[in-house]
Protein backbone atom coordinates (compact mmCIF):
# COMPACT_ATOMS: atom_id res chain seq x y z
CA UNK A 1 0.00 0.00 0.00
CA UNK A 2 1.18 3.48 -0.72
CA UNK A 3 1.50 5.93 2.15
CA UNK A 4 -0.73 8.97 1.81
CA UNK A 5 1.13 12.24 1.60
CA UNK A 6 1.27 14.16 4.82
CA UNK A 7 -0.90 16.93 3.50
CA UNK A 8 -3.87 14.64 3.10
CA UNK A 9 -4.37 14.21 6.78
CA UNK A 10 -2.48 16.85 8.71
CA UNK A 11 -4.81 19.60 9.70
CA UNK A 12 -4.48 21.50 6.52
CA UNK A 13 -7.74 23.25 6.41
CA UNK A 14 -8.11 26.44 4.49
CA UNK A 15 -10.87 28.50 5.99
CA UNK A 16 -13.37 30.03 3.69
CA UNK A 17 -14.13 33.65 4.58
CA UNK A 18 -17.45 33.01 6.28
CA UNK A 19 -18.51 36.60 6.70
CA UNK A 20 -18.69 38.58 3.52
CA UNK A 21 -17.82 42.24 3.35
CA UNK A 22 -21.38 43.27 2.65
CA UNK A 23 -22.73 41.46 5.68
CA UNK A 24 -25.92 42.66 7.32
CA UNK A 25 -25.80 46.19 8.72
CA UNK A 26 -24.45 46.36 12.25
CA UNK A 27 -27.77 46.72 14.01
CA UNK A 28 -27.02 44.55 17.00
CA UNK A 29 -25.25 45.95 20.00
CA UNK A 30 -23.91 45.11 23.40
CA UNK A 31 -24.31 47.50 26.31
CA UNK A 32 -22.46 47.24 29.60
CA UNK A 33 -25.06 48.07 32.23
CA UNK A 34 -23.20 47.31 35.40
CA UNK A 35 -19.55 46.71 36.10
CA UNK A 36 -18.32 45.46 39.43
CA UNK A 37 -14.75 44.92 40.51
CA UNK A 38 -13.40 43.06 43.52
CA UNK A 39 -9.70 43.36 44.34
CA UNK A 40 -8.95 44.48 40.82
CA UNK A 41 -5.85 46.70 41.13
CA UNK A 42 -6.84 49.50 43.55
CA UNK A 43 -10.58 48.74 43.29
CA UNK A 44 -11.27 46.64 46.40
CA UNK A 45 -14.98 46.75 45.83
CA UNK A 46 -16.34 49.01 43.10
CA UNK A 47 -19.59 49.05 41.28
CA UNK A 48 -20.54 51.34 38.46
CA UNK A 49 -23.84 51.65 36.65
CA UNK A 50 -23.09 52.75 33.11
CA UNK A 51 -25.27 54.71 30.75
CA UNK A 52 -26.02 53.33 27.28
CA UNK A 53 -24.58 56.43 25.57
CA UNK A 54 -21.50 58.34 26.64
CA UNK A 55 -20.15 57.82 30.15
CA UNK A 56 -17.41 60.15 31.37
CA UNK A 57 -15.11 58.95 34.12
CA UNK A 58 -12.85 61.60 35.57
CA UNK A 59 -10.11 61.38 38.14
CA UNK A 60 -6.50 62.37 38.66
CA UNK A 61 -3.77 60.05 37.46
CA UNK A 62 -3.28 57.01 39.67
CA UNK A 63 -6.79 57.10 41.17
CA UNK A 64 -7.98 54.12 39.15
CA UNK A 65 -9.95 55.36 36.16
CA UNK A 66 -7.91 53.53 33.55
CA UNK A 67 -8.19 50.40 35.71
CA UNK A 68 -11.93 50.44 35.00
CA UNK A 69 -11.29 50.34 31.25
CA UNK A 70 -8.64 47.68 31.73
CA UNK A 71 -11.17 45.52 33.60
CA UNK A 72 -13.72 45.89 30.80
CA UNK A 73 -11.00 45.09 28.30
CA UNK A 74 -10.16 41.97 30.30
CA UNK A 75 -13.70 40.67 29.91
CA UNK A 76 -13.35 41.25 26.20
CA UNK A 77 -9.93 39.71 25.52
CA UNK A 78 -8.90 37.96 28.78
CA UNK A 79 -5.80 40.13 28.77
CA UNK A 80 -4.78 43.64 29.68
CA UNK A 81 -4.71 46.22 26.89
CA UNK A 82 -1.81 47.76 28.80
CA UNK A 83 0.09 44.51 28.37
CA UNK A 84 0.04 43.90 32.13
CA UNK A 85 0.29 40.41 33.60
CA UNK A 86 -2.64 38.82 35.41
CA UNK A 87 -0.68 39.09 38.63
CA UNK A 88 -0.36 42.83 38.40
CA UNK A 89 -4.13 43.24 37.92
CA UNK A 90 -4.85 41.50 41.22
CA UNK A 91 -4.80 43.70 44.34
CA UNK A 92 -1.40 43.68 46.03
CA UNK A 93 -2.56 41.82 49.14
CA UNK A 94 -5.04 39.57 47.38
CA UNK A 95 -4.95 36.12 45.82
CA UNK A 96 -7.84 36.68 43.46
CA UNK A 97 -9.70 39.43 41.68
CA UNK A 98 -13.17 39.33 40.17
CA UNK A 99 -14.49 41.35 37.26
CA UNK A 100 -18.21 41.09 36.65
CA UNK A 101 -20.37 42.78 34.05
CA UNK A 102 -24.08 42.80 33.49
CA UNK A 103 -24.54 43.14 29.73
CA UNK A 104 -27.50 43.75 27.55
CA UNK A 105 -27.01 41.76 24.36
CA UNK A 106 -29.70 42.55 21.80
CA UNK A 107 -32.14 43.28 24.59
CA UNK A 108 -31.27 40.20 26.65
CA UNK A 109 -29.51 40.29 29.97
CA UNK A 110 -26.24 38.46 30.25
CA UNK A 111 -23.94 38.25 33.26
CA UNK A 112 -20.29 37.59 32.58
CA UNK A 113 -17.72 37.07 35.33
CA UNK A 114 -14.00 36.48 35.27
CA UNK A 115 -11.91 35.46 38.22
CA UNK A 116 -8.21 36.24 38.05
CA UNK A 117 -6.06 33.99 40.17
CA UNK A 118 -2.42 34.37 41.16
CA UNK A 119 -1.84 30.66 40.75
CA UNK A 120 -3.19 30.83 37.22
CA UNK A 121 -6.55 29.24 37.97
CA UNK A 122 -8.48 31.86 36.09
CA UNK A 123 -12.16 31.09 35.73
CA UNK A 124 -14.97 32.46 33.66
CA UNK A 125 -18.72 32.24 34.08
CA UNK A 126 -21.57 33.25 31.82
CA UNK A 127 -24.96 33.55 33.50
CA UNK A 128 -23.46 31.81 36.54
CA UNK A 129 -22.47 28.80 34.43
CA UNK A 130 -18.72 28.10 34.43
CA UNK A 131 -17.18 27.85 30.97
CA UNK A 132 -15.03 24.78 30.32
CA UNK A 133 -12.42 26.91 28.63
CA UNK A 134 -11.97 30.54 29.63
CA UNK A 135 -11.32 31.36 25.97
CA UNK A 136 -14.93 30.50 25.13
CA UNK A 137 -15.76 33.91 26.56
CA UNK A 138 -14.03 35.65 23.67
CA UNK A 139 -16.49 37.29 21.34
CA UNK A 140 -19.12 37.87 24.02
CA UNK A 141 -18.10 41.46 24.67
CA UNK A 142 -16.20 43.27 21.94
CA UNK A 143 -14.44 46.54 22.66
CA UNK A 144 -12.12 48.89 20.82
CA UNK A 145 -9.71 50.72 23.10
CA UNK A 146 -8.20 54.11 22.29
CA UNK A 147 -5.18 54.75 24.47
CA UNK A 148 -2.67 57.62 24.68
CA UNK A 149 0.20 55.37 23.60
CA UNK A 150 -1.65 54.41 20.40
CA UNK A 151 0.77 56.89 18.88
CA UNK A 152 3.33 54.09 19.01
CA UNK A 153 1.31 52.12 16.45
CA UNK A 154 2.38 54.66 13.85
CA UNK A 155 5.64 55.83 15.34
CA UNK A 156 7.31 52.72 16.74
CA UNK A 157 8.38 49.44 15.17
CA UNK A 158 6.21 47.07 13.12
CA UNK A 159 5.25 44.94 16.14
CA UNK A 160 2.51 47.32 17.23
CA UNK A 161 1.06 47.48 13.72
CA UNK A 162 0.93 43.70 13.42
CA UNK A 163 -0.60 43.62 16.89
CA UNK A 164 -3.33 46.03 15.77
CA UNK A 165 -4.20 43.88 12.74
CA UNK A 166 -4.16 40.69 14.81
CA UNK A 167 -6.33 42.21 17.53
CA UNK A 168 -8.97 43.17 14.98
CA UNK A 169 -8.81 39.77 13.31
CA UNK A 170 -9.06 38.08 16.71
CA UNK A 171 -12.21 40.09 17.50
CA UNK A 172 -13.70 39.11 14.18
CA UNK A 173 -13.17 35.37 14.31
CA UNK A 174 -11.83 32.83 16.77
CA UNK A 175 -9.93 30.97 14.06
CA UNK A 176 -7.69 34.01 13.57
CA UNK A 177 -6.96 34.03 17.28
CA UNK A 178 -6.12 30.32 17.04
CA UNK A 179 -3.86 30.83 14.03
CA UNK A 180 -2.06 33.64 15.75
CA UNK A 181 -1.28 31.62 18.85
CA UNK A 182 -0.25 28.66 16.67
CA UNK A 183 2.20 30.92 14.84
CA UNK A 184 3.67 32.14 18.14
CA UNK A 185 4.01 28.59 19.34
CA UNK A 186 5.65 27.28 16.15
CA UNK A 187 8.06 30.21 16.12
CA UNK A 188 9.08 29.45 19.70
CA UNK A 189 9.62 25.78 18.88
CA UNK A 190 11.52 26.58 15.69
CA UNK A 191 13.62 29.12 17.58
CA UNK A 192 14.48 26.49 20.18
CA UNK A 193 15.63 24.11 17.41
CA UNK A 194 17.78 26.87 15.87
CA UNK A 195 19.40 27.63 19.22
CA UNK A 196 19.96 23.99 20.16
CA UNK A 197 21.45 23.27 16.73
CA UNK A 198 24.28 25.65 17.57
CA UNK A 199 24.99 26.15 13.89
CA UNK A 200 24.89 22.42 13.12
CA UNK A 201 23.21 21.35 9.89
CA UNK A 202 22.86 17.65 10.66
CA UNK A 203 20.12 15.59 9.01
CA UNK A 204 18.38 15.45 12.35
CA UNK A 205 18.22 19.25 12.59
CA UNK A 206 17.12 19.55 8.96
CA UNK A 207 14.36 16.98 9.38
CA UNK A 208 13.06 18.66 12.52
CA UNK A 209 13.14 22.09 10.90
CA UNK A 210 11.30 20.70 7.86
CA UNK A 211 8.38 19.86 10.10
CA UNK A 212 8.20 23.24 11.84
CA UNK A 213 8.64 25.04 8.52
CA UNK A 214 5.73 23.17 6.97
CA UNK A 215 3.53 24.05 9.90
CA UNK A 216 4.65 27.69 9.98
CA UNK A 217 4.13 28.02 6.22
CA UNK A 218 0.66 26.55 6.36
CA UNK A 219 -0.67 28.69 9.22
CA UNK A 220 1.48 31.70 8.33
CA UNK A 221 0.25 31.97 4.73
CA UNK A 222 -3.33 31.71 5.88
CA UNK A 223 -2.90 34.33 8.60
CA UNK A 224 -1.02 36.77 6.39
CA UNK A 225 -3.73 36.49 3.72
CA UNK A 226 -6.25 37.40 6.42
CA UNK A 227 -4.11 40.40 7.43
CA UNK A 228 -3.88 41.53 3.81
CA UNK A 229 -7.62 41.23 3.30
CA UNK A 230 -8.12 43.30 6.45
CA UNK A 231 -5.73 46.00 5.25
CA UNK A 232 -7.55 46.17 1.92
CA UNK A 233 -10.84 46.61 3.76
CA UNK A 234 -9.63 49.07 6.35
CA UNK A 235 -7.50 51.25 4.11
CA UNK A 236 -10.23 53.33 2.36
CA UNK A 237 -11.97 53.82 5.72
CA UNK A 238 -8.76 55.08 7.31
CA UNK A 239 -8.16 57.44 4.41
CA UNK A 240 -11.61 58.97 4.75
CA UNK A 241 -11.40 59.18 8.56
CA UNK A 242 -7.97 60.78 8.43
CA UNK A 243 -9.25 63.57 6.20
CA UNK A 244 -12.19 64.16 8.46
CA UNK A 245 -10.09 64.26 11.64
CA UNK A 246 -7.25 66.32 10.17
CA UNK A 247 -9.61 68.64 8.36
CA UNK A 248 -7.51 68.55 5.19
CA UNK A 249 -7.34 66.47 2.04
CA UNK A 250 -4.19 64.50 2.84
CA UNK A 251 -3.86 61.15 1.10
CA UNK A 252 -3.20 58.21 3.40
CA UNK A 253 -2.04 54.94 1.87
CA UNK A 254 -1.57 51.62 3.58
CA UNK A 255 0.36 48.67 2.30
CA UNK A 256 0.97 45.32 3.92
CA UNK A 257 4.59 44.37 3.36
CA UNK A 258 5.46 40.67 3.54
CA UNK A 259 8.93 39.77 4.72
CA UNK A 260 9.21 37.23 1.89
CA UNK A 261 8.29 36.68 -1.74
CA UNK A 262 6.71 33.63 -3.30
CA UNK A 263 5.68 30.79 -1.03
CA UNK A 264 6.55 31.00 2.64
CA UNK A 265 7.78 27.42 2.64
CA UNK A 266 10.30 28.20 -0.11
CA UNK A 267 11.34 31.38 1.68
CA UNK A 268 11.91 29.49 4.92
CA UNK A 269 14.00 26.92 3.05
CA UNK A 270 16.08 29.63 1.43
CA UNK A 271 16.51 31.42 4.72
CA UNK A 272 17.40 28.31 6.70
CA UNK A 273 21.15 28.71 6.40
CA UNK A 274 21.01 32.29 7.67
CA UNK A 275 18.44 31.33 10.32
CA UNK A 276 20.76 28.66 11.69
CA UNK A 277 23.62 31.09 11.79
CA UNK A 278 21.64 33.91 13.40
CA UNK A 279 19.50 31.49 15.47
CA UNK A 280 16.27 33.31 14.66
CA UNK A 281 13.57 32.90 12.03
CA UNK A 282 14.22 35.73 9.61
CA UNK A 283 11.09 35.47 7.43
CA UNK A 284 7.46 34.97 8.29
CA UNK A 285 4.36 36.71 9.60
CA UNK A 286 6.35 37.95 12.62
CA UNK A 287 8.68 40.00 10.39
CA UNK A 288 6.05 41.69 8.24
CA UNK A 289 5.05 45.33 8.41
CA UNK A 290 2.10 47.53 7.68
CA UNK A 291 3.49 50.53 5.86
CA UNK A 292 1.53 53.73 6.05
CA UNK A 293 2.23 57.00 4.35
CA UNK A 294 0.73 60.45 4.35
CA UNK A 295 0.94 62.30 1.04
CA UNK A 296 3.48 59.79 -0.18
CA UNK A 297 5.84 60.11 2.80
CA UNK A 298 6.28 57.35 5.39
CA UNK A 299 4.15 58.28 8.41
CA UNK A 300 6.53 56.58 10.80
CA UNK A 301 9.56 58.67 9.93
CA UNK A 302 8.19 61.75 8.20
CA UNK A 303 4.87 62.42 9.90
CA UNK A 304 4.55 65.17 12.48
CA UNK A 305 3.40 64.16 15.95
CA UNK A 306 -0.05 65.58 15.15
CA UNK A 307 -0.27 63.61 11.90
CA UNK A 308 0.85 60.42 13.60
CA UNK A 309 -1.71 60.82 16.37
CA UNK A 310 -4.47 61.52 13.88
CA UNK A 311 -3.51 58.44 11.89
CA UNK A 312 -3.53 56.29 15.03
CA UNK A 313 -7.02 57.54 15.90
CA UNK A 314 -8.19 56.84 12.35
CA UNK A 315 -6.86 53.29 12.65
CA UNK A 316 -8.77 52.68 15.89
CA UNK A 317 -11.98 54.19 14.53
CA UNK A 318 -11.67 52.16 11.35
CA UNK A 319 -11.05 49.01 13.44
CA UNK A 320 -14.30 49.62 15.27
CA UNK A 321 -16.18 49.96 11.98
CA UNK A 322 -14.66 46.89 10.42
CA UNK A 323 -15.37 44.71 13.45
CA UNK A 324 -18.96 45.97 13.50
CA UNK A 325 -19.34 45.25 9.80
CA UNK A 326 -17.77 41.81 9.92
CA UNK A 327 -19.53 40.46 12.99
CA UNK A 328 -22.77 42.42 12.74
CA UNK A 329 -22.44 43.82 16.24
CA UNK A 330 -21.00 47.19 17.28
CA UNK A 331 -18.05 47.01 19.68
CA UNK A 332 -18.17 49.23 22.77
CA UNK A 333 -15.72 52.14 22.55
CA UNK A 334 -13.28 52.80 25.39
CA UNK A 335 -11.41 56.10 25.24
CA UNK A 336 -8.56 56.32 27.72
CA UNK A 337 -7.61 59.95 28.22
CA UNK A 338 -7.40 60.49 24.48
CA UNK A 339 -8.70 64.04 24.20
CA UNK A 340 -6.03 65.68 26.31
CA UNK A 341 -3.56 65.10 23.49
CA UNK A 342 -5.74 66.58 20.75
CA UNK A 343 -6.27 70.16 19.64
CA UNK A 344 -9.82 71.47 19.71
CA UNK A 345 -10.48 70.93 16.03
CA UNK A 346 -9.35 67.28 16.06
CA UNK A 347 -11.13 66.61 19.34
CA UNK A 348 -14.48 67.73 18.03
CA UNK A 349 -13.88 65.92 14.74
CA UNK A 350 -13.25 62.73 16.74
CA UNK A 351 -16.50 63.27 18.66
CA UNK A 352 -18.27 63.63 15.32
CA UNK A 353 -16.77 60.43 13.92
CA UNK A 354 -17.39 58.26 16.98
CA UNK A 355 -20.00 55.58 16.32
CA UNK A 356 -23.37 55.86 18.04
CA UNK A 357 -22.60 53.08 20.50
CA UNK A 358 -21.88 52.87 24.18
CA UNK A 359 -18.73 54.85 24.83
CA UNK A 360 -16.78 55.08 28.05
CA UNK A 361 -14.31 57.91 28.29
CA UNK A 362 -11.75 58.70 30.96
CA UNK A 363 -10.34 62.16 31.52
CA UNK A 364 -7.82 63.53 33.97
CA UNK A 365 -8.94 67.12 33.55
CA UNK A 366 -12.64 66.44 33.81
CA UNK A 367 -13.30 68.46 30.69
CA UNK A 368 -15.24 67.00 27.77
CA UNK A 369 -14.70 68.09 24.17
CA UNK A 370 -17.19 70.31 22.41
CA UNK A 371 -20.06 68.36 20.90
CA UNK A 372 -19.90 65.45 23.32
CA UNK A 373 -23.10 64.84 25.24
CA UNK A 374 -22.41 62.68 28.29
CA UNK A 375 -25.32 60.62 29.62
CA UNK A 376 -23.58 60.07 32.92
CA UNK A 377 -20.47 61.29 34.74
CA UNK A 378 -18.41 59.67 37.44
CA UNK A 379 -15.44 60.56 39.59
CA UNK A 380 -12.84 58.03 40.68
CA UNK A 381 -10.80 58.74 43.81
CA UNK A 382 -8.55 56.10 45.37
CA UNK A 383 -10.37 53.21 43.76
CA UNK A 384 -13.79 54.55 44.82
CA UNK A 385 -16.37 55.52 42.21
CA UNK A 386 -19.01 58.17 42.67
CA UNK A 387 -21.64 59.20 40.16
CA UNK A 388 -21.89 62.94 39.58
CA UNK A 389 -25.27 64.48 39.04
CA UNK A 390 -26.09 67.66 37.19
Amino acid sequence: MKAPTTSTYLCQYAFPESVSDDAAPAAASVVIELLSLVNFRNHTNSEILFAPGLSVVSGANGEGKTNLLEAIGYLSSLSSFRGASTDSMIGIDDEQAVVRAQLQVNGREQLIEAQLDRRGRNRVQVNRQPLKRARDLLGTLRVVVFAPDDLAIVKAGPGGRRELLDTVLGSVHRRHEGDRSDIDRVLKQRGAVLKQAGGSTSNEVQATLDVWDTKLAEVGERHVSAREALVAEVSPIVEQLYRSLAGDDAAVTMKYRRSWEGSLLDALTQSRHADLRRRVTLVGPHRDDLEMSINGLPARTHGSQGEQRTLALSLRLASQRVIARRVGCEPVVLLDDVFSELDEQRASALVRELPAVQTILTTATGSVPAGAKPSASYVVVGGQIREQHG
Binding site: M1, K2, A3, P4, T5, T6, Y9, L10, C11, Y13, A14, F15, R119, R133, D136, H173, R174, R175, G178, D182, R185, V186, K188, Q189, R190, A192, V193, Q196, E204, A207, T208, D210, V211, W212, T214, K215
Partner: protein, 198 residues
Protein backbone atom coordinates in the same frame (compact mmCIF):
# COMPACT_ATOMS: atom_id res chain seq x y z
CA UNK B 1 8.71 26.76 57.19
CA UNK B 2 7.74 23.80 59.34
CA UNK B 3 9.80 21.29 61.31
CA UNK B 4 12.18 19.15 59.26
CA UNK B 5 10.05 16.09 58.29
CA UNK B 6 6.88 18.14 57.74
CA UNK B 7 8.64 20.56 55.43
CA UNK B 8 10.36 17.65 53.64
CA UNK B 9 6.96 16.11 52.93
CA UNK B 10 5.57 19.43 51.67
CA UNK B 11 8.61 19.94 49.45
CA UNK B 12 8.38 16.45 47.95
CA UNK B 13 4.66 16.78 47.26
CA UNK B 14 5.28 20.20 45.76
CA UNK B 15 7.49 18.59 43.10
CA UNK B 16 4.52 16.65 41.71
CA UNK B 17 3.04 17.94 38.46
CA UNK B 18 0.05 20.22 38.94
CA UNK B 19 0.57 20.55 42.70
CA UNK B 20 1.32 24.06 43.93
CA UNK B 21 2.70 25.00 47.36
CA UNK B 22 -0.76 25.37 48.88
CA UNK B 23 -2.01 22.00 47.67
CA UNK B 24 1.24 20.39 48.79
CA UNK B 25 0.70 21.76 52.25
CA UNK B 26 -2.93 20.62 52.32
CA UNK B 27 -2.04 17.07 51.24
CA UNK B 28 0.86 16.91 53.72
CA UNK B 29 -1.38 17.94 56.62
CA UNK B 30 -3.98 15.43 55.50
CA UNK B 31 -1.40 12.63 55.46
CA UNK B 32 -0.23 13.59 58.95
CA UNK B 33 -3.79 13.51 60.26
CA UNK B 34 -4.94 10.16 58.84
CA UNK B 35 -4.28 6.84 60.70
CA UNK B 36 -0.79 5.47 60.21
CA UNK B 37 -1.86 2.32 58.28
CA UNK B 38 -3.61 4.47 55.67
CA UNK B 39 -0.50 6.55 55.15
CA UNK B 40 1.69 3.45 55.01
CA UNK B 41 -0.53 1.97 52.31
CA UNK B 42 0.26 4.95 50.10
CA UNK B 43 3.93 4.72 50.89
CA UNK B 44 3.97 1.01 50.09
CA UNK B 45 2.04 1.51 46.88
CA UNK B 46 4.69 3.96 45.72
CA UNK B 47 7.52 1.62 46.70
CA UNK B 48 5.89 -1.40 45.06
CA UNK B 49 5.14 0.47 41.88
CA UNK B 50 8.67 1.79 41.65
CA UNK B 51 10.11 -1.68 42.25
CA UNK B 52 7.89 -3.63 39.93
CA UNK B 53 6.89 -1.32 37.11
CA UNK B 54 9.22 -0.77 34.22
CA UNK B 55 8.84 0.10 30.59
CA UNK B 56 7.82 -2.62 28.17
CA UNK B 57 10.89 -3.45 26.09
CA UNK B 58 8.87 -3.41 22.90
CA UNK B 59 6.22 -0.67 23.11
CA UNK B 60 7.51 1.38 26.09
CA UNK B 61 4.20 1.35 27.87
CA UNK B 62 4.32 0.76 31.63
CA UNK B 63 4.66 -2.93 32.36
CA UNK B 64 5.27 -5.31 35.24
CA UNK B 65 7.22 -7.61 32.94
CA UNK B 66 9.73 -7.29 30.17
CA UNK B 67 6.80 -7.28 27.75
CA UNK B 68 3.48 -5.67 28.64
CA UNK B 69 0.17 -7.53 28.52
CA UNK B 70 -0.73 -6.11 25.13
CA UNK B 71 2.61 -6.93 23.53
CA UNK B 72 2.58 -10.46 24.91
CA UNK B 73 -1.08 -11.16 24.12
CA UNK B 74 -1.69 -13.68 21.35
CA UNK B 75 -5.16 -12.38 20.62
CA UNK B 76 -4.01 -8.97 19.40
CA UNK B 77 -3.72 -8.34 15.68
CA UNK B 78 -0.21 -8.16 14.30
CA UNK B 79 0.69 -5.66 11.62
CA UNK B 80 -1.00 -2.52 12.96
CA UNK B 81 0.63 -0.07 15.34
CA UNK B 82 -1.08 2.76 17.15
CA UNK B 83 1.53 5.40 18.04
CA UNK B 84 0.73 7.52 21.09
CA UNK B 85 2.58 10.10 23.17
CA UNK B 86 2.04 8.68 26.66
CA UNK B 87 0.89 5.57 28.48
CA UNK B 88 -2.31 7.29 29.45
CA UNK B 89 -3.17 7.54 25.76
CA UNK B 90 -2.96 3.74 25.49
CA UNK B 91 -5.58 3.55 28.21
CA UNK B 92 -7.76 6.05 26.35
CA UNK B 93 -7.59 4.12 23.05
CA UNK B 94 -8.09 0.78 24.82
CA UNK B 95 -11.31 2.08 26.36
CA UNK B 96 -12.79 2.51 22.89
CA UNK B 97 -12.47 -1.28 22.31
CA UNK B 98 -12.16 -0.34 18.63
CA UNK B 99 -8.49 -1.14 18.23
CA UNK B 100 -7.15 -4.67 18.23
CA UNK B 101 -3.59 -4.00 17.10
CA UNK B 102 -0.59 -3.08 19.20
CA UNK B 103 0.87 0.16 20.52
CA UNK B 104 4.01 2.19 20.53
CA UNK B 105 4.47 4.80 23.25
CA UNK B 106 6.78 7.65 22.21
CA UNK B 107 7.07 8.90 25.79
CA UNK B 108 6.45 12.46 24.73
CA UNK B 109 6.22 14.60 21.62
CA UNK B 110 8.56 16.89 19.73
CA UNK B 111 8.94 19.89 21.98
CA UNK B 112 12.24 21.72 21.43
CA UNK B 113 11.34 24.35 24.06
CA UNK B 114 11.43 21.56 26.65
CA UNK B 115 14.55 20.13 25.06
CA UNK B 116 12.70 17.18 23.54
CA UNK B 117 13.86 16.24 20.07
CA UNK B 118 13.56 12.93 18.20
CA UNK B 119 16.49 11.45 20.18
CA UNK B 120 14.56 11.91 23.43
CA UNK B 121 11.60 9.97 22.03
CA UNK B 122 11.28 6.28 21.19
CA UNK B 123 11.51 7.01 17.47
CA UNK B 124 14.38 4.75 16.43
CA UNK B 125 12.70 1.92 18.34
CA UNK B 126 9.52 2.57 16.34
CA UNK B 127 11.39 2.41 13.06
CA UNK B 128 13.01 -0.82 14.19
CA UNK B 129 9.64 -2.39 14.78
CA UNK B 130 8.31 -1.75 11.26
CA UNK B 131 10.55 -4.33 9.65
CA UNK B 132 10.95 -6.53 12.70
CA UNK B 133 7.21 -7.05 13.16
CA UNK B 134 6.10 -6.72 9.53
CA UNK B 135 3.97 -3.70 10.27
CA UNK B 136 1.65 -2.66 7.43
CA UNK B 137 -0.18 0.27 9.01
CA UNK B 138 0.88 2.90 11.54
CA UNK B 139 -1.88 5.01 13.09
CA UNK B 140 -0.41 8.27 14.35
CA UNK B 141 -2.45 9.13 17.43
CA UNK B 142 -0.49 12.03 18.85
CA UNK B 143 -2.41 14.93 20.35
CA UNK B 144 -4.21 17.35 18.00
CA UNK B 145 -2.11 20.32 19.15
CA UNK B 146 0.88 22.00 17.52
CA UNK B 147 3.48 19.68 19.02
CA UNK B 148 1.41 16.55 18.42
CA UNK B 149 0.82 17.53 14.78
CA UNK B 150 4.50 18.26 14.28
CA UNK B 151 5.42 14.90 15.78
CA UNK B 152 2.94 13.14 13.50
CA UNK B 153 4.33 14.95 10.47
CA UNK B 154 7.88 14.10 11.46
CA UNK B 155 7.04 10.42 11.89
CA UNK B 156 5.01 10.32 8.66
CA UNK B 157 8.05 11.55 6.74
CA UNK B 158 10.26 8.88 8.28
CA UNK B 159 7.73 6.10 7.84
CA UNK B 160 6.60 6.98 4.31
CA UNK B 161 9.70 5.62 2.54
CA UNK B 162 9.43 2.35 4.47
CA UNK B 163 6.36 1.43 2.44
CA UNK B 164 4.02 1.26 5.37
CA UNK B 165 0.59 2.87 5.33
CA UNK B 166 0.50 5.89 7.60
CA UNK B 167 -2.78 7.24 8.92
CA UNK B 168 -3.75 9.97 11.35
CA UNK B 169 -6.68 10.06 13.74
CA UNK B 170 -9.52 12.12 12.32
CA UNK B 171 -10.43 15.17 14.36
CA UNK B 172 -14.07 15.88 14.77
CA UNK B 173 -16.98 16.50 17.02
CA UNK B 174 -17.57 14.96 20.41
CA UNK B 175 -20.19 12.23 20.11
CA UNK B 176 -23.33 12.68 22.14
CA UNK B 177 -22.84 16.42 22.34
CA UNK B 178 -24.85 19.17 20.76
CA UNK B 179 -23.49 20.92 17.71
CA UNK B 180 -24.21 24.30 19.26
CA UNK B 181 -21.89 23.60 22.17
CA UNK B 182 -18.89 22.58 20.07
CA UNK B 183 -16.21 25.23 20.03
CA UNK B 184 -15.71 27.01 16.72
CA UNK B 185 -12.29 25.57 16.04
CA UNK B 186 -13.39 21.96 16.48
CA UNK B 187 -16.58 22.52 14.51
CA UNK B 188 -14.67 24.42 11.83
CA UNK B 189 -12.23 21.59 11.42
CA UNK B 190 -14.96 18.97 11.36
CA UNK B 191 -16.66 20.98 8.61
CA UNK B 192 -13.42 21.14 6.68
CA UNK B 193 -12.96 17.37 6.89
CA UNK B 194 -16.57 16.52 6.11
CA UNK B 195 -17.18 13.35 4.15
CA UNK B 196 -19.79 12.04 1.77
CA UNK B 197 -22.65 10.09 3.35
CA UNK B 198 -22.89 6.62 1.86
Amino acid sequence: MYEGPVQDLIDELGRMPGIGPKSAQRIAFHLLKIPTPDAMRLSEAITRAKERVQFCQRCFNFSEHELCLICSSASRQDGTLCVVEESRDVVAVEKTQEFRGRYHVLQGCLNPIEGIGPEQLRVSELLGRIDGEQITEVILSTNPNIEGEATAMYLARLLGPLGVMVTRLASGLPVGGDLEYADELTLGRALEHRRAVE
